[in-house]
Structures are given as structure tokens and as C-alpha cells.
Subunit: 431 residues, 2 copies
């Protein structure tokens, strides 16, 4: 894993060292901490996270607490509903419908159903079940360094987990939509790759079910441009009888600035849209929006019940998050502040050769780090850790980890951007 | 699905009819409501749920709100932590360790790691991934009407979903542990069935990975006795190189009365234990406890990260639930009140020929409903709906739906039992 603590290394206080040992003992060997020296947190508010001694970290990484850590309106909605009723979707309750209808109003009219899960993994896993029913196929196309979840089925669709998890036998990876991978042009090249993957399926007797992409291609290194390039790929999978799933777990809920959903930058209407991380601002809430014809066959044959998914508390929280995004104009803020952030990085790159390409949309930014003009994962890792020592939380991304992944809570301000740029400027002189 | 509303039927108020239509429109065709006439709820407290007009329903069904609906101590812990910090397991935080260590203290010493997910489905799905890594096999043994989750992998292990979801190609069902299925003796017969399933796997070139059972066999109709019968089955799967997973999503957290976990009634130590529903009293919290040797190979090759799983709020809620179970002696209450409930049902059966076998442990009870001495799903359904009309919420279970499933919140009192028995006595005279 990129940016993981090695037990025994780092400069932990005795108290933190003891916590890390308790973790290894209780949680076992599959858990990882961030950073050479892990961060110990006790409090969060807005765009800041706080250590036990009061040290404030500026959060440039956590897209879950998307409307700000511990946002008072979201916490209040959570409190009120949790004290009133917390039960499930097999009884009539207004809350889930208020939340569902508000969500659906944010989609094109063709997408008119929404189903609730607890995690993005569950949403993508459900989408695969629905796609299999709708198409009769099993083949899934993903990008080379995709991440779509931790269930057995979605982990097999997540190349970024690494060689420990083999791609599923019906999973067909294609190169991520970068200029480097598609010198002939990203839109045509990526669509061509989809068609070729369908050909490989056909050669193995597999029928296409699904093309699934994170519409900001986060784990592939952040690839938003040129806007519109996804539309031919969606057409290509449909031409072969498969469905197009926009995974909005990362880019959704206003983060890309110009639009509420990442797919909207590409001028297409997905068959299904999965949602997660920011949907409940930390409460386990996720979902799947879809066209009625997509779910028709699944709905004829099967039911769906998720014990906690769409419970009354989840619905109240989901609604509060939508209220805050609207009332605080957070999508606009993501556009404005994200543009300033990218412009600032590009200006900084004039003075620092180690800053390579800046890619992004709104407050989702990838920044390649170079040495002698070539992407340098080791330098990226040093930078991520140096920022952490300078109280800025960030991480890396891309197949080799050669890009900064910048993805702060949406109330991020221009002053916050200045702090990051000033700190980067200082660190890069010595790194 | 057992006990599902048919749209257009029932006796809904115009307001509820409108809600049901909004549901169908927004949520699509895969969602179901309980009862011929669905129940509309707005509030919950203790063992009661309330309709908009104030009508109180006695809850005999919901094992999620296990320490009581909207328990003040759990709500307070949720509120406090949600207002303080809600972030994930890649930073150091005390809360997850406090929760993990308190949980592990409830297990035999051999089970010394716990991993956190959001749902029981995710816990069972993760268990399958871990079992595959540990054993090198893929074969899974489940009971004929098992339910283990809604992810693609766990749905394929859940025969109770019905013919719409085919068993996975490496899933091998065996008959549930009833006297009817194993007239030669349940313990020996069930173990023999495991061995024979391994033989069927071998004939198909499949290696065993896992025997997974809900230790109260809820969806199979509730089969707790004779205590101890599971031990030979666990030995049988281990003899073939597979692991034994106790699915405690339903029976865990004190519900079976005499022990905290259902498997403890059987005098065995599982390789893994999955937990869910009652773990967060409605907050999406689930997990997997395991022996270190079970996770060793998975931990060497892979990492596990669940964005919301084990977050600071989940940990605070999980700890509060354990506090309440202990401080209110809810496990003892389940034993005492559950025994009285079963005794009351057996006494009632003296006067009502339609009451067949009563099976259960603590506050998890299955009650077969008969007509002319034979199990009668239609009569069971009528009874479930008649109880609902009499303000008692309950459902049915078993492969044919011929048993009442009685599974109330654990603070259920002897007075609550009297109310159920009195109402049953009255209804059964006319049904």
C-alpha cells in the first residue's frame, strides 16, 4: 500500500507506540496506518483534525467528511433521528422517501430509482448483481489501477489492491484514460479499448455485463480531461450489450465543482450510478441510482434488503448532507477554490522542477511529482510525509504512487490553499 | 418473500397508500414491505414502536435494536462521538481499540483479532476471502435455507433468497439440523452431511474452504438443540482442511441467554465469528473475530480497509452497546424471559392444537403452526398478520414459512410475554 506505516519505524511518542502495538494485537495483520509516523487524532472540525496535544492538521485528504468534519447540522440531524427511530425499510417511513426524492432530483430524469446500501463496496457489488440479471452476461471492464470495493466481487474488480487479489476470471482491465496510454486521443482510444476488451471476452465465451469507472479515475492517478471523453466508451459497452456504471463514490456530491456528479462533465447518462463516501459525511451511507429498465429483470426475480441500508437515521443524515451542500454553496466553492488550487500549483511549478502535471476538477486534484523530468514515487512519498510533519494531511495516488492526491473537505478556503502552497514551496526547496 | 405486502392489497389509509406509491416510484421493484397491511412507524422506544397516530406496537421481531429502540445511552455515545471525531482506521485512535478489546474479552482466548465492517454481509464476505487465502480452497458448505448476506458472494451462499439467486458453483448446501432431517441423531447426522458435502466437492475438483452456519439457524426455522450438536460438524470440516465460521449476526450479543454467543452452547471454538445486526443497536456496525492463524496468510498478502468500518463513531456505539448489555443484565434477562416465553407457548399448546413444536434459546424462538397436525405456512401467515392487527410485530421463518420467528429486543419483560400469550390465546380461538 502507498503511504503505509512500517511497524517499528517512524518517530512515535511512547503513547502512540503503545497504541500501534495494541492495534496490531487486537486488529491483526491486515490493517494499515498512514504515514511513516502515524497521526493520532482525537477531534475534527471543519477542515481541521486535531491531535491529543491540540496540534491542528489541515485536512487535504478526507473526502468522506466532505461538508466538514463533525458538521453541526449533520450531527444535529443524526442526533435527532437516532433518538426518535432507527429502523429499517420494511416499514413505511417518510425519511427514506424524502432522501430518495431529493437525491433523484439531482440526476437526469432517466435515472429515477435509488437503492440504499451502507458502503460504496456494497453499492458496486449490488450493481454487478443487477447488471448480470439485466444483460445475462458476466464480463466486467475496469481500468488498470481501478478501485471499486472490498467485497469478494468488487475486490476482484479492483486492480489497485495489487497482485495479492487476482482479477476475477470475468474481469477485463484496460489502460486508464491518460494521454500517455492513448496518444491517438483519449476519447477514441478509451472507447476502442472497451471494444477490444469485449472482443477478448467473446474469445473466451464471456458476455459483457458492465463497464465500471470511477469518473475521476482517482486510484489511476486522477484523469478528468478532456471533459466528454467517457461518452464514446459508454456507447461502446452498450453496443456490445453491456451497461455503463458511473462510480461516483469519489467524485460525487459536488466535489468536481462544475457539476454535482462526475459523469455530468462527460455529457452522458449512465445506466447506474454508485454513491458512497461523502453521502453521509462519515455515517455509513451509500447507494445506487439507476434507470428503471436496468433494475426491471432483477426486480422481477429477486428482492433487495439491506438491514441498515436506508434506515431512518441514514436517511436523515443523507438529507442533511444535501441541505448543507446546497445552503453553503459547497459545489460552487469546490469550483472556485479548486480552480485557484490548481492555478497555484501550476504557478509553483514554474519555480519547482519537481512539480509535473496538475490534473483535476474542482477539489479533486492529482499532482505528479518528478525527478529529472520523470515521475518519482519515492520523492512523492517523501513529500507526503514532509507535509504531514508540517501539519498538512494528504496522500499519494496513481499506479506507481507518483502523484499527490488532493481531496479536502469541500469548505476548503482560499486561505487553506495558500497555506498548502506556501508550505509546499518551502518544503520543495529542501526535499 | 415471506410476509410481504402486495401493492394494491391491504387496508392502507390514503396517506399510507400514498407513501407506498412514493416508495415504488423512488425505490423501484426490489424493495418489499412487511405485512398484508404495512406498518407506518415514526418513533421507537424500548420494546415499542409507534405509528403517527400514537398507536403502540409491541416489537417481538427486531433483533437490531437489541438493547431497546433508541436506547438513551447508545444515542448519547453516538451523539458525543459524532460531534467530536468520525474518521477512519488509518489514523491512530483509542476508540476502536477500546471497542475491539472489550469485544475480544467476550471470546475464548484463541480468538484474539477482530476486524470491523459495516454490515453482516460484509463480515461474511470478508470471511470467505480470508478462508480462501487460508485454505487454498473455494468450497463453501451452507444449510438448505441459509441466509448469510446480500453481496454477490454471500447471496450465492444464501439459499433462503430463493431460486432467483442460484447457489454459487462452489457452494454446497446440506439439510438443516432438525430431527426430521436427521432421524439418526442431529449431531452425527449433520457432521456426516458435512463430510458428504466435502466428498461431493472432491468429485468436482473443489477444495473445501468453509463451513458457515448461523448458530441458531434462524432462516432454517430456528434449530438450537441439542446443545453441542455443532461440534462434530466443525471437526468434520476441519478434517477436510476447511474452516468453521460461526455466523453470530442473529444469535450473538447475549440473545440466546445462557451464553453471549450462540456457538458457545455447542462447546466449540470457531475459526472465525461474524457479527452484525445488534452490534450497533441500529448503527451500521459489524465485524469478524478470528484466530490469528486464520488471518495469517491473508495478512501476508493483502490489506483490509473499510472506509466506514470501525470509524470512531462506530467504535463508541459498539462500546456503549456492550456496556448496556452488561449493566442492564440483558443476557440474563434473555435467559429468564425467553424461558418463560417458551414455557408459556408450550402451555398454550395444551389448549391450541395449531401450536406445534416450540424451539429456541433465550429470546430467539421458533414456533411451528399446524393445521390437522401438519405445519401450515398459510395459517402462520394469517397469524402473523392477525398479530400485527393486534399491535404485536412478529414474522415467520423456516423454508416454508411455517413457524413464527420471535426475536424481540432484549429488555423484553414478563409482562410483554403475557401480552403476547394472551393475544395469541384470543386470536388462535378464531383463526
Amino acid at each position: 500500500m502507498l503511504n503505509a506505516y512500517t511497524p517499528g519505524a517512524g518517530h512515535l511518542s511512547p503513547a502512540d507506540e503503545a497504541l500501534a502495538r495494541r492495534r496490531a494485537k487486537a486488529l491483526g495483520p491486515a490493517y494499515r496506518l498512514f504515514y511513516e509516523t502515524p497521526v493520532h487524532l482525537v477531534r475534527g472540525a471543519g477542515v481541521h483534525l486535531y491531535a491529543p496535544d491540540g496540534t491542528a492538521y489541515l485536512d487535504c485528504y478526507n473526502n468522506v467528511a466532505s461538508v466538514g468534519h463533525c458538521h453541526p447540522r449533520v450531527v444535529e440531524a443524526l442526533n435527532r433521528q437516532a433518538a426518535t427511530l432507527a429502523t429499517h425499510t420494511r416499514y413505511l417511513h417518510d425519511g427514506i422517501l424524502d432522501c430518495a426524492e431529493r437525491l433523484l432530483a439531482l440526476f437526469p430524469a432517466e435515472i429515477s430509482h435509488v437503492m440504499f446500501t451502507c458502503t460504496g463496496s456494497e453499492a458496486n457489488d449490488l450493481a454487478l448483481r443487477i447488471a448480470r440479471a439485466a444483460t445475462g452476461g458476466t464480463g466486467v471492464i475496469v481500468t488498470d489501477n481501478a478501485y471499486h470495493g472490498v467485497t469478494l466481487a468488487t475486490a476482484e474488480m479492483s486492480m489497485s489492491i495489487g497482485p495479492a487479489v487476482a482479477p476475477g476470471p470475468t474481469v477485463f482491465p484496460i489502460p486508464a484514460p491518460s494521454a500517455e496510454n492513448y496518444p491517438q486521443g483519449i476519447a477514441a482510444g478509451f472507447a476502442q479499448a472497451v471494444t477490444e476488451a469485449c472482443d477478448r471476452m467473446a474469445a473466451q465465451g464471456v458476455r459483457p455485463a458492465l463497464l465500471i469507472v470511477d469518473t475521476i479515475f482517482s486510484s489511476d492517478g486522477v484523469h478528468p480531461d478532456p471533459a466528454g471523453f467517457l461518452a464514446p466508451a459508454a456507447a461502446a459497452i452498450r453496443a456490445r450489450g453491456g451497461l455503463f456504471l458511473a462510480d461516483e463514490v469519489q467524485p460525487g456530491f459536488g466535489r468536481t465543482g462544475s457539476r454535482f456528479w462526475g459523469f455530468q462533465r462527460h455529457g452522458l447518462i449512465p445506466d447506474m450510478v454508485s454513491m458512497g463516501k461523502p453521502m453521509g459525511n462519515g455515517y455509513p451511507l451509500a447507494g445506487l441510482a439507476l434507470k428503471p429498465e436496468t433494475i426491471a429483470e432483477f426486480g422481477r426475480k429477486a428482492r433487495y434488503f439491506n438491514t441498515f441500508g436506508g434506515n431512518a437515521v441514514a436517511a436523515a443524515v443523507g438529507l442533511a448532507v444535501l441541505d448543507v451542500i446546497r445552503d453553503e454553496a459547497l459545489q460552487d466553492n469546490a469550483a472556485t477554490v479548486g480552480a485557484a488550487f490548481m492555478q497555484g500549483l501550476k504557478s509553483l511549478a514554474q519555480r519547482h522542477e519537481s512539480l509535473g502535471e496538475t490534473r483535476g476538477a474542482g477539489l479533486f486534484i492529482g499532482q505528479t511529482i518528478l525527478t529529472d523530468g520523470r515521475p518519482d514515487p519515492a520523492r512523492t512519498a517523501r513529500l507526503v510525509n514532509a507535509l504531514r510533519e508540517n501539519r498538512i494531511l494528504i496522500s499519494s495516488t496513481g499506479p506507481k504512487g507518483d502523484s499527490l492526491k488532493i481531496r479536502p473537505p469541500l469548505p476548503f478556503s482560499l486561505a487553506n490553499v495558500d497555506q498548502v502552497l506556501t508550505t509546499l514551496d518551502r518544503i520543495l526547496k529542501t526535499l
